[in-house]
Each structure stands twice: as C-alpha cells, then as structure tokens.
C-alpha cells in the first residue's frame, strides 16, 4: 500500500493534468488580454462576428468533440435563439440582456426536445435526424408570421444594457460580446473538465462499455445535447443584437454545415480548435466575399482537405507536436 501512495506522490497522472490546466489557464488569459486590446487593432464588428461564430463552434464541439455526437442541424438552435431574441428586443421592447436570455432559453428548450428525439439513434442516423428536425425549424421560420419570412427581423434595437449602458457604439457592444464569449467558453471548459465531462468522454470513446459500467448513457447525451444547444443559442442571440438582424441564414442547413467546417478546421475535440477554426472561416468569407461562388468551392475544398489529410485540424496538429492537450 505504502508503495502505491509513494508512487502517487510522483505520479505523472496528476502532474500532467495540472500542467495542462496551467497551460490552458495561460492561454485563456492571453485570449482575454488579446480581446481587451483587439478593437484598437481590428474592426469591432468583424471581431464580434468572429466571437459569435467562435462561441457557436465551441458549443458544437462540446457535442461532437466531447460527446462524439455529430449534429447536422445545429443551425436550428442558433437561429431559434436569434429569432426569439430579435423578437423580444424589437417587438416586446425588452432590454438586450433579457432578450439574449430569452433567446438562449428558447434554444435550450428546443435542444431538450430535439435531443430527446435524436439520441434514440446513433452515428449517421443521429446526424440525419438532427438534420431533418432542423429542417422543420427552417420551414417554420420561413412561414411563421413573426419571423418576417425572407426579410427576417430587421432593425433590432441594440438597446441599453441593464438600462444604463448604451450599446449602439460598436466598441461598447464589442466588450459585452467579448465577455459573453469568454463566459461561454470558460463554461464549456468547465463542463469538459467536470465529473460529467469525464463520463461524457468515456461515452464518446466507447458507449457499450460505459453502459456496462452502469451509466445510463442516453441521459448524459441528452444533457450534453441540451447544453450544446443552449450555448449555440447564446451565440445566436448575441449575434442578433450585434447585427440587429435575425434571418433565415441562421436556420438554413448550410449554417449547420459551416459550423462543422469550423470545428473540423480548428480541430474537433480540442478546447481552442473551434475558436481558431471559426476565426479562419469567418476571415476567409469576409475577404473572399468578392469572389462569389468561388467561396463555396473553396469551402468545399477545405472540407475535403480536412477530411482527407488533416483530420486533427490546426490546433489538433499543434497539440500533437507539443504533446499537450489544447
């Protein structure tokens, strides 16, 4: 017994975990510092777009990278939250913080319902079911009177945060978005590194084995699905306030594909990969906008390259080089 405890003391197990945690903390601090200074270097609206998509990709990655569940309908949660938030802010005149909360809650509820339907099947079946469910949301958004059909909900007021801070200035709003983003990704980080996250990773790695250990895996999957949908909703609701717009783009299935692309490019199952992936894809879309249809072609090529040669993604490759989880 003594020998075991002795080995415990020098066990590389905890040491590696602590080292990784320290590294992650350092990176998060670096991100926070960068975010604080970024609007002085870069266009704040562009930054806000990147942050919204980065949060969306991180939420998606929680499900795919850590839950092993490929949802092909995540646009449904982004879009629903975006519509609800826009409607609450514009039509009901709610302050932005409540509008975002409402939007996020709607996405959570939808995620719970869709999740309980989808987790009944696995793998490709799961992907197809999430896709089809999201498609229903798309048609609903197209036809429901309050979504404004093709026009979407436009001219959403940015309002005053807590009735005090005027958000109409881009830089002010930027800092709110940065805080939401950081809170969101830190929450995701905590979920990944929680007792729940441990079980989740076990289910991802080997579901039958997790069942044989006595875990009712479907419940875990439902929880992570709902969490992921909620955070995707947070991203969508924030986006609605930033762009003062909720539109069909957010619920269309190509959006579900885009978030997969972002996660894949950055590295699925890594903490920081989806952020990098989102930044890369959004930047690309922004600077290649004049190329028209070539953007889709380039996106397709990136997809193919990632799947064929580069499955670990940018951060995945770096993590491998450094031999550290990122």
């Amino acid at each position: 017994m003594a020998s075991v405890s002795e080995r415990m003391a020098t066990a590389p197990t905890t040491r590696a975990a602590v080292e990784a945690a320290n590294l992650h903390r350092a990176i998060f601090i670096a991100i926070a510092v960068f975010l604080a200074g970024a609007p002085f270097l870069l266009y704040p609206v562009f930054l806000m777009k990147v942050l919204c998509f980065a949060l969306f990709a991180c939420a998606f990655n929680l499900l795919l990278g850590y839950g092993g569940l490929l949802s092909f309908g995540h646009a449904a949660y982004l879009g629903t939250a975006s519509y609800i938030c826009a409607h609450t802010a514009k039509v009901w005149g709610m302050p932005p913080e409540l509008a975002i909360l409402f939007g996020t809650a709607a996405a959570a509820a939808l995620g719970f319902v869709f999740g309980s339907l989808a987790i009944r099947r696995q793998g490709i079946y799961f992907a197809m079911i999430t896709l089809a469910l999201a498609q229903m949301v798309f048609f609903f958004s197209l036809q429901a009177p309050f979504t404004g059909g093709e026009d979407g909900i436009q001219a959403v007021p940015r309002g005053r945060l807590f009735g005090l801070i005027d958000l109409s200035r881009d830089t002010t709003l930027y800092y709110l978005v940065a805080v939401i983003f950081l809170a969101g990704v830190l929450f995701i980080y905590r979920v990944i590194h929680s007792p729940f996250g441990q079980v989740l990773k076990a289910i991802r790695d080997n579901e039958p084995r997790a069942i044989s250990l006595g875990y009712a895996t479907n419940r875990y999957k439902l929880v992570v699905f709902t969490l992921s949908a909620t955070l995707a909703g947070l991203a969508g609701a924030t986006k609605a306030i930033v762009f003062q717009l909720a539109s069909l783009t957010d619920v269309h299935w190509t959006m579900s594909g885009e978030v997969v692309l972002m996660t894949l490019v950055g590295g699925m199952g890594t903490v920081f990969g989806p952020m990098v992936g989102a930044a890369v894809i959004v930047t690309m879309q922004n600077y290649l906008a004049h190329l028209g249809a070539w953007v889709t072609v380039i996106q397709g090529i990136i997809f193919v390259i990632c799947v064929m040669l580069f499955r670990e993604g940018i951060i995945g490759v770096i993590a491998k080089k450094l031999k550290r989880p990122l």
Binding site: F139, E150, L245, N286, A289, H290, G292, V295
Partner: protein, 400 residues
C-alpha cells in the same frame, strides 16, 4: 484612417496633376448577388454598368475620382449588412449601388441611414423601401412590386383578363406581391377567384397549376420569383395551360428568366419592365457597348438602373463639388433626371425614382429574330401612373 490616407493621396495626385478643378474622390460599392439566383440579372453586369457610367460621364476630366468596388451578398441579409458596415466604417465607401433581394436591401437601407451615406437601389423589389421604411438616404431607382403589380395587373384586366387565380410563394415577399396585385385587379374591375400558397422554394408546381386550371380563371398570376417562377412557367407549358386559353402573368420576371426558359416555353407570358434593350436607338447603342464587355449578354433593367443611378449621382457631385450625403441627396431630388436609358424622370421626396414602365409580351419563337429578341411592347405606362402615388406609401418623410 484608411480613408484619410486615401484622400491625402488623391489630393496629392490632384496637386501634381496641376488641375485647376477641385478634386472630389468618391467610392462606389456595387453590392449584389454574384453567385446566386440574381447573379445573372445583377452581378458582374451591374459593375460593368457602373463603370460605363463613370466613363461616359467623363468623371476624371470633370475632377471626380471614381473608384468602384464590388462584393457578393449571397442574398443573405446578414452577409450584406456585414459588408455594408465594413464598407462604410472601414473602406470609405460613399454610395452603395444595386442590392437585389428585398431582405438585403431593407437591411442596407437601415445601415445606410444610420451611417448617413447614400444607397441607390436598383435590384430590389420591395416597395417598402420608399414606403413605411423610406429613408432620406435611399433612392429606389428601377422598379418595385407596386409598379410591377400595377403594370401587369391593370393592363391584363384592360385586355380582358378579368378573372385571376394566384400562385403565391408562401413568404413575406410573395404575400406582398399578391396583396398589391389583388388591389390593382379589383380596382380595375377584375375578380380574384382564388389563391394557393406554395412552399418556398418549390420545385413541383403541377398540383397548384391544376388547381389554378380548375378554377377557370382567365389569368394565372405568379406571385413568386426566380426559380419558382421559372418552374411554374415551364410546368404550365407542359400541362398545356396556356394552350388551353389561360394566360400567365409573371409578376416578377426578368429578361434573364425568359432567356433561361427559352421562347418555346415562355411565349405569351405577359410582364412589366422599366427597361428593354431594344426600345429605341439610345438603348440599343448602350446595349451594344454593354454586350461587348459582358460576353454578349444584353443588359437587364436592373443593370440599366445601376448605370442611370450612378450617372445621376455623379451629376449631383459635379454640381456641388462636394460629396456630403445630405447635400448630394437634396441635389439629386431637386434635379430632374435624364439619361439615355430611362429618359426623363425625377426622384421623389420618398426616394422613389419615377419613369415610364412598359408592359411586354414574350414573342413566339417564330417571331424572334435572334438571341435576346424576346419582347413585343404591349403598352407604355406613363410615369405619372406607373408608381404608387406619393401619399399612399405611408412614408414618414412625405408628411413633413
């Protein structure tokens, strides 16, 4: 910062050029669909049209430095508004041109107002741009749903098409087009026998066409757009609907759609446009030069609108030697418009550009003399009647 540097550079250029004239630099952004459904009717052609306007105006010689940039809004309001913000905030764009797709146009309308720049829309159909959502910074140049509904609706009733059945795309745009047309039809003494709302986008319309057929209406109004309209017309021909005596009225059909359908299928279709390349010598001359630059394609009314709008804007800038948005807008509204493509006209207080509209019928294949020879002129709708009266648009700018 960027703008500042650019202004400095152009000022230096002017200094060295030793020009006696005051130099003004303007940056125009053509924002439209370059990959989707409206790429053919706007797209690169609109950029060509804007460039031609700058050349024809001899802007350089008149001391105006014109830079034209372009981007693809993919028909998505979020992408469009993102580009617009960046153009205005970062890239020093003064005017945004074209912008087909109503949803995107409405978004740009709002941002332009917020940033106090100028938006000259040519591509979008939404009559709200000069109605409830009108803005002191927006001009709507080429057409709108009201004008299309009015042109096609009243003219069809006059020629005997007095019972209608609507095939409506089930979303805001379709509903608006249907509502506007029904109003016109009923005002002209026609009757609406029924409507069917089809999912958007759809591919098979046969079921709805059969319902339209069994209604016995003389006219089937297509309150949809793009691929939906094309498929409806194609399948109407297949089901022998036009042969059986019913007429199709395309409420939003462009010459590029007719080109895609082919005359065999599109023949007999009645539609309203504000420009056709084969109207007169001036339009033909323009079209010939345009076609040389665009690989043989004739200009659409949307592209013509971009040309004319750019021209009118440059005139105002030249007159003022200034590009201040408010001053330029005022100048553009007080100066009557005149250009080779739309003739004489005016820009109304609500931002609506007024000119004649034309009702065309698509030729039979044997009547056509060659590519792009598609239309027979049925009627000219004089400018005074072509657009929604100023007092009916609920535009807040008008009351004051």
């Amino acid at each position: 910062m960027k703008t500042g540097r650019m202004l400095l550079a152009t000022a230096l250029v002017a200094l060295f050029a030793g020009g006696a004239q005051a130099q003004v630099s303007v940056k125009l952004g053509v924002l439209n669909d370059r990959s989707g459904l409206y790429a053919d009717l706007s797209g690169e052609g609109s950029v060509i049209a804007a460039r031609m306007a700058a050349e024809d105006f001899k802007a350089k010689e008149k001391g105006i430095n014109v830079e034209i940039i372009s981007a693809d809004h993919q028909n998505k309001p979020d992408i469009g508004s993102n580009i617009a913000r960046q153009w205005y905030d970062q890239d020093g764009v003064d005017v945004i041109l074209d912008v087909p797709t109503s949803s995107v146009a409405l978004a740009i309308n709002q941002i332009t107002r917020e940033k106090n720049k100028i938006f000259i829309n040519s591509g979008a159909a939404a009559s709200d741009l000069t109605g409830k959502q009108c803005s002191p910074n927006t001009i709507h140049w080429t057409y709108d749903t009201w004008a299309l509904a009015n042109g096609t609706g009243s003219a069809m009733v006059k020629t005997g098409g007095d019972t209608w059945f609507f095939l409506t795309a089930d979303y805001a745009f379709g509903h608006a087009l249907e509502r506007d047309t029904i109003a016109v039809v009923e005002k002209s003494g026609g009757k609406v026998l029924g409507t069917v709302r089809h999912p958007f986008p759809g591919s098979d319309f046969s079921s709805f066409l059969l319902q339209a057929q069994s209604s016995g209406a003389k006219v089937i109004g297509l309150a949809n757009a793009g691929g939906d309209t094309i498929n409806s017309i194609k399948q109407a021909a297949e089901f022998g609907i036009t042969q059986a005596g019913q007429n199709l009225a395309g409420l939003l059909v462009f010459i590029t759609d007719v080109n895609a359908l082919g005359l065999q299928t599109a023949q007999g279709l009645v539609l309203t446009e504000s420009f056709y390349w084969d109207l007169n010598d001036e339009t033909r001359a323009f079209a010939k030069r345009f076609a040389e630059k665009s690989g043989g394609k004739m200009p659409t009314m949307v592209q013509a609108g971009v040309y004319a709008g750019t021209l009118h804007y440059l005139k105002a800038v030249e007159a003022l030697k200034d590009k201040d948005s408010a001053k330029v807008m005022a100048k553009m509204k007080e100066t009557p418009t005149e250009d080779p493509l739309f003739g004489k006209g005016e820009v109304r207080a609500d931002g609506r550009k007024i000119h004649d509209m034309y009702l065309f019928e698509v030729k039979k294949p044997e009547e056509s003399k060659g590519p792009w020879d598609f239309y027979k002129l049925v009627a000219t709708i004089p400018a005074a009647e072509a657009f929604r009266p100023l007092d009916q648009g609920e535009c807040p700018l008008v009351k004051g």
